[in-house]
């Protein structure tokens, strides 16, 4: 159950949504606590949930053992849940205790599918977040 609406509205991903769209997205949300070392998302399994980081630190790792870590509020995990073929391409592990905002992937996908304006804003934000992550990774390249 979502407890802090204002905190959610302040997250970059949701900041430009219209009031009525925001209400629809909030209706799909629940917050879940995760614990140090917990694997909350498994590679190869159906991607059922789209996660937004509220607190905590996370490691996302792929089959080839490549990985990246997430430490910021508003970071997103599990975008395979809204992109075909809806299977997790990575495993998610909590490095510390934390809190994740969980959105039901299928319901979010249907909501976006039926609302092109919101779909556009949402995907643009997701692209921006991914681009920022890639730019950050580039900044930290081998010296």
């Amino acid at each position: 159950m979502v407890t802090n609406i204002e905190k959610i509205k302040s997250i970059n991903l949701f900041s430009n949504l219209k009031k009525e769209d925001m209400e629809q997205v909030i209706s799909l949300m629940e917050t879940n606590k995760v614990y140090e070392g917990e694997v909350f998302m498994q590679r190869g399994e159906p991607a059922l949930t789209f996660y937004v980081v509220l607190s905590g630190n996370y490691m996302i790792h792929f089959a080839e053992e490549q990985s990246f870590t997430l430490h910021n509020q508003g970071d997103i995990i599990g975008w395979s849940s809204i992109i075909t073929p809806f299977f997790n391409t990575a495993t998610g592990t909590a490095l510390t205790d934390g809190e994740l905002l969980c959105l039901h992937g299928k319901k979010l996908y249907n909501l976006l599918k039926n609302n092109p304006d919101m779909h556009y804003i949402f995907m643009k934000k997701i692209n921006k977040i991914i681009a920022e992550k890639m730019a950050y990774a580039k900044d930290n390249e081998k010296i």
Partner: protein, 149 residues
């Protein structure tokens, strides 16, 4: 006075050239405007987002997301973990190593709370991403942290 003589006498060639320049400049400007029309339309259609973006930039609000982790205080246990991770990484014999393998090795060697301390190593920049999904041990930071003992 008729023909070329009249043209020459009344700056006809210069005026014609100027006319051609004006017309061609107009055409070039028009074609540029048409070629960029999609950007202008995008700006108009998404004016609310752009205004918000400008406001955020102006207020310096929107740049990084809020860090969820507080600043790490380097304690004796952090230094001890750094020592242990340093040994593990040396034994892995890979300059650029994968994090899952490091955690697996740490678990198998019986390190306490490997996820928690791995996060600390990342936060104090002892373990640094190489930009391609692998990580390396930052020796200089290790020396600095150990020298503060």
């Amino acid at each position: 006075m008729y023909g070329f003589e009249a043209i020459n006498a009344n700056n006809g060639w210069e005026i014609s050239f100027l006319g051609i320049c004006i017309v061609f400049t107009g055409l070039v400007l028009l074609s540029l405007a048409i070629s960029q029309l999609h950007k202008i339309l995008d700006l108009w259609e998404n004016r609310d987002s752009y205004i918000q973006l400008l406001k955020d930039r102006f207020n310096k609000k929107n740049i990084p997301n809020e860090e969820t982790a507080p600043d790490i205080i380097v304690t004796d246990s952090t230094r001890e973990s750094a020592r242990q991770f340093n040994i593990l990484i040396k034994n892995m014999n890979e300059k650029y190593f994968p994090l899952p393998k490091l955690i697996k090795t740490a678990k198998s060697m019986g390190l306490m709370r490997p996820h928690f301390y791995l996060n600390q190593m990342l936060q104090i920049k002892l373990i640094i991403p190489d930009g391609s999904g692998f990580y390396y041990w930052e020796k200089n930071n290790h020396k600095k942290i150990m020298s503060k003992e």
